[in-house]
């Protein structure tokens, strides 16, 4: 299996992205902002197709739009709460616009599928370096904001009183979510970003109440699911993204079933 370059590239790319998704996703779930990842992926699709249309790299187009979108969401902040209709309308418009861009760029239906559902086996060495660079920047950024981010997540009023700038922390974090979303899209596509960002983190939070273990477990689950998905895809010839979503979803459902049976006892 590892004799093939596309498999080796796939493992490396999925590994990089899974580590980032596990870390960022943990805070995303803890903050109850899971849908931010989903929303940013939708607008990222427009960025990617727009970039293709003007002859630029879809990855960078997506990064630009998701990071910009994250910062925008952070700035608008609480006004977004309970605005699900408005959010849904904007997201649909973003996807529709992306479709229009694809239409102008007639030739490639495969391009659309790759953006929507991911194409980890088509990752080039060049893309791997881009993914690695972005992941390192994101993880370093998360390392810088982690402490005030955690405080602001657990006790916003107290954090504010102790001098945490809530708005700034929220904007920085959502910018990182934007980066992580763009990375995840390369592996599982914009429609399935949830599966790497939210699935492993949510499962981990069901399994351990400890912060340190939780973060580690979130990364381990994301990594395990991404790599096992690749292995299964290799032997079955079914799509990798299907296997990753299946593993992520099944882990969450099994663990949450187990957790709720434990609390009933």
């Amino acid at each position: 299996m590892l004799d093939y370059e596309f498999m080796r590239n796939g493992f490396v790319a999925a590994g990089i992205v899974a580590v980032l998704a596990g870390l960022v996703g943990y805070f995303l779930v803890l903050r109850g902002q899971s849908f931010a990842g989903h929303a940013l992926a939708h607008v990222g699709f427009t960025g990617a197709t727009g970039a293709v249309l003007i002859g630029a790299s879809p990855l960078w187009g997506m990064v630009l739009v998701t990071v910009g979108g994250g910062i925008g969401m952070g700035l608008i902040g609480e006004r977004l709460q309970n605005r699900d209709v408005a959010i849904g309308v904007v997201l649909s418009m973003a996807l529709g616009l992306g479709l229009l861009f694809l239409h102008f760029f007639t030739a490639y239906a495969t391009q659309a599928t790759a953006l929507l559902f991911g194409n980890v086996l088509g990752v080039t060495t060049h893309t791997i370096f881009a993914l690695l660079g972005l992941a390192l920047v994101s993880i370093a950024g998360l390392g810088v904001i982690a402490r005030p981010l955690l405080f602001a997540t657990l006790q916003p009023e107290l954090a504010e009183a102790k001098g945490v700038r809530l708005r700034l922390v929220s904007v920085l974090f959502l910018a990182l979510v934007g980066l992580a979303t763009a990375e995840c899209s390369q592996i599982v596509g914009v429609l399935l970003v949830f599966t790497l960002m939210v699935g492993p983190a949510a499962t981990s939070q069901l399994l351990t109440p400890q912060l340190g273990w939780g973060l580690g477990l979130s990364v381990a689950l994301a990594l395990g699911q991404a790599w096992l998905g690749l292995v299964l895809a290799f032997y079955t010839d079914w799509p990798t993204s299907f296997w990753i979503t299946a593993l992520s979803g099944a882990s969450y459902l099994v663990v949450s079933g187990w957790a709720s049976s434990m609390t009933r006892m």
């Binding site: 904001i145 982690a146 005030p148 107290l158 009183a161 945490v164 939070q205 912060l211």
Partner: protein, 263 residues
């Protein structure tokens, strides 16, 4: 030096004046209950003491210096939020998240930080509780962890915003007793806001009653009287004392709705 000194203090919230030119001083080791009808400005006053709301007039000093945010000598327990009750994180991590939480960097604690968390957990007798996830705790147990968090950094003034909200009478009594014991043991000033006076009777040194933009500070006997409260509510108020408890009545309605009057 006073723990809190307000001089001609005016506060507004959302363009509406909640306090208009009030003056009072709270001593350094006093347990003061902050009472008043909804919207009277209990939370706004606390936010002003934390430096999060600027006075629209007058001044407010905390421990001898103008109120400013990030003051480590002020401990704060915000009003109950449902999200805390649903968290799967264990209590220890929840409390520890507030240790130097305003600094950039990784949320790792050094030895001193861990000892500080252990100290505050021991103060509220929550060392064992802190090993369990927040969502598995009762309301009273969670309040103890929140109180521990407010005690981080050895504050000299403790602001507790409605710690009795959504607790049953038994747990209300336990929280009041715990806060009173801590306040005496540590020799600190406590501002404790509440909807009802009765759970606090016997623990309070003085009452700060807010209403109609005004404030009255004094002992229970001085403040909880018909004339003073009529002024603060802006309508005719009767005060009825019954079996060691006090009922504040507007016309024929109890203004402080006491759901547990049989307890």
């Amino acid at each position: 030096m006073s723990a809190v000194e307000a001089v001609d203090l005016s506060l507004t919230r959302g363009g509406r004046a909640v306090l208009a030119g009030v003056s009072f001083a709270i001593a350094e080791s006093e347990f003061v209950g902050v009472l008043g009808p909804n919207g009277a400005g209990k939370t706004t006053l606390m936010r002003a003491l934390l430096g999060l709301v600027r006075p629209s007039g007058g001044t407010v000093a905390v421990l001898g210096a103008p109120a400013a945010f990030g003051n480590p000598a002020v401990g704060y327990m915000p009003q109950h939020r449902a999200t805390v009750a649903g968290m799967r994180l264990r209590g220890w991590d929840f409390v520890a998240g507030a240790v130097a939480g305003h600094r950039w960097g990784l949320p790792l604690l050094d030895g001193a930080g861990r000892r500080e968390v252990a100290r505050v957990l021991a103060l509220v007798d929550a060392t064992a509780l802190a090993r369990r996830p927040l969502r598995d705790l009762s309301g009273g147990e969670r309040q103890r962890l929140l109180l521990a968090q407010a005690l981080l950094g050895r504050p000299k003034l403790l602001l507790l915003d409605e710690p009795l909200m959504s607790l049953d009478p038994h747990h209300q009594h336990a929280v009041v007793t715990l806060v009173r014991d801590l306040q005496q043991e540590l020799g600190i000033a406590v501002l404790f806001s509440a909807h009802e006076l009765n759970p606090l009777l016997g623990a309070l040194d003085r009452v700060l009653y807010l209403g109609a933009g005004q404030a009255a500070l004094g002992t229970v006997d001085e403040v909880i009287t018909g004339p003073v409260l009529s002024r603060l509510y802006g309508s005719e108020i009767d005060v009825i004392r019954l079996a060691g408890r006090i009922f504040v009545m507007s016309g024929r309605q109890a203004t402080e709705r006491d759901h547990h009057s049989h307890a």
